[in-house]
Amino acid sequence: MNIMNLISALPGAVAQGLVWGIMAIGVYITFRILDIADLTVDGTLCTGGAVCIMLMQSGQNVWVSMALALIAGMLAGMATGLLHTFMGIPAILAGILTQLGLYSVNLKIMGKANQAINVDKFDLLVSLRFIKGVPFYKNTILLVTLMIVFLIVFLYWFFGTELGCSLRATGCNDKMARAQGINTDFNRVLGLMISNGLVALAGALLSQYQGFADINMGRGAIVIGLAAVIIGEAIFGKVFRNFGFRLLGVAFGSIIYYFVLQIVIWLGIDTDLLKLLSAVVVAVFLAIPTWKSRYFSKPAHKEGV
């Protein structure tokens, strides 16, 4: 139990948090902007990883592989979108159905349940190894941070365009959106495509980071994504008003989640309790806004504390 050990473990936690931060931003788009609880992401995360790994194993360049992984994710999002709009299936169920189908698709992509990618043999962009002792331009933390910043700038621009504004309107009040001539069905599909594309990109990075793509790697991903969004809002909600900064807050939320996880492991607490502890942490963060308003807000007439 040595604090130096914890501190030197933090960079790894930050790196993991950043990669999942990209996924959390994808979840933010559907969850907060479009107001859809999208469960497809559990499958899409693996799809991104699977596509990236298989392409790299066949000799493709890492950027091309990641780009194609992103497109694969967009296709998955489109599937959910069509199930929801064209076939009228409620969004949650549509997500579950796609995720179910993706299990088989992912198995077929990988050929088996688990595909390794050897960091010594392939030119990986990110890896658990590239956190310390590498030149700065290979450093995983720097690279992923740059990606996130670029992503946030892009999304900030996008949601300021006519199309982006119409997406926001669709999520906020779809009755009003239709009355203003907005094709809400199309927008929902588009939003799901963008979100799942991002999640697949995160999956591609994650599989490189951990050195393998595994059929179960997405299991429970939606929980982590939502936890990151909520933690980010709870802590940074008041500080960050601007949309771009709120996305940054989401990325921070993801990093914090992985900090806590690393601390729990460092404390040597019985790992059987790991999931319970995660649930408690998320619950506490969820409760912060309520507690603040109930117990810590200062009524005007009382003498201040």
Partner: protein
Amino acid sequence: MLEIRNISKTFNPGTVNEKRALKNVSLTLEDGDFVTVIGGNGAGKSTMLNAIAGVWPVDAGHILIDGEDVTRLPEYKRAAFLGRVFQDPMNGTAATMGIEENLALALRRGQSRTLRAGIKNQEREVYKRLLATLGLGLEERLTSKVGLLSGGQRQALTLLMATLKKPKLLLLDEHTAALDPKTAAKVLETTEMIVNRDKLTTLMITHNMKDAIVHGNRLIMMMDGNIILDIRGEEKKNLTVEDLLHKFEEVSGEEFASDKAILG
């Protein structure tokens, strides 16, 4: 301008909740008509408006706007030539977006939305001017989130959004019903001003008989999914509330039993 031919709509057909909301309704509106629609609860007024707007497809009949058959057109496509204000002030605007963003959305109604900027600087000047005409001080708060506004302010904003691009038809569904009397009067006044200025063809549902008489050049009364009274021109100008009640009894053989409508 607007022609409705024999439209019918039944909700929950074949179940215990079956409601025949519109029974073979026909109506023609000329350009520039300002029609007020009254009737008891469940008469079919909102249903008729929703049918025109295309919220759901009608079971039978045709709807023509400016000669074009729009019966099969989906709601968001019809929105290109319609302006709508809803009864619930929350429904007409996007609460998490700013006032200017809402107006920008309305300006682009009917156009395809591309990756151009969502709002341009020149637009802001126009919005400021228009908001000033409402007299609610909104022109100072262009970037405020709409969710912070009061019901009356949101409704006024919705009205502005509905008429920003001159619509072929303006549909007002009891748009003052949820407001307090003073704000309601203000919104009605603004409605009158805009409709007269732009010579908009308007359908306005109201529960208030007096308002129905005072505003507009034509009055329609609905009951039980049918139009039972259609009064225009001079006859309408000279109407009083008692007249209306008598006419109603004549036609339907019942008493028009709605406190809200009578007391206003």
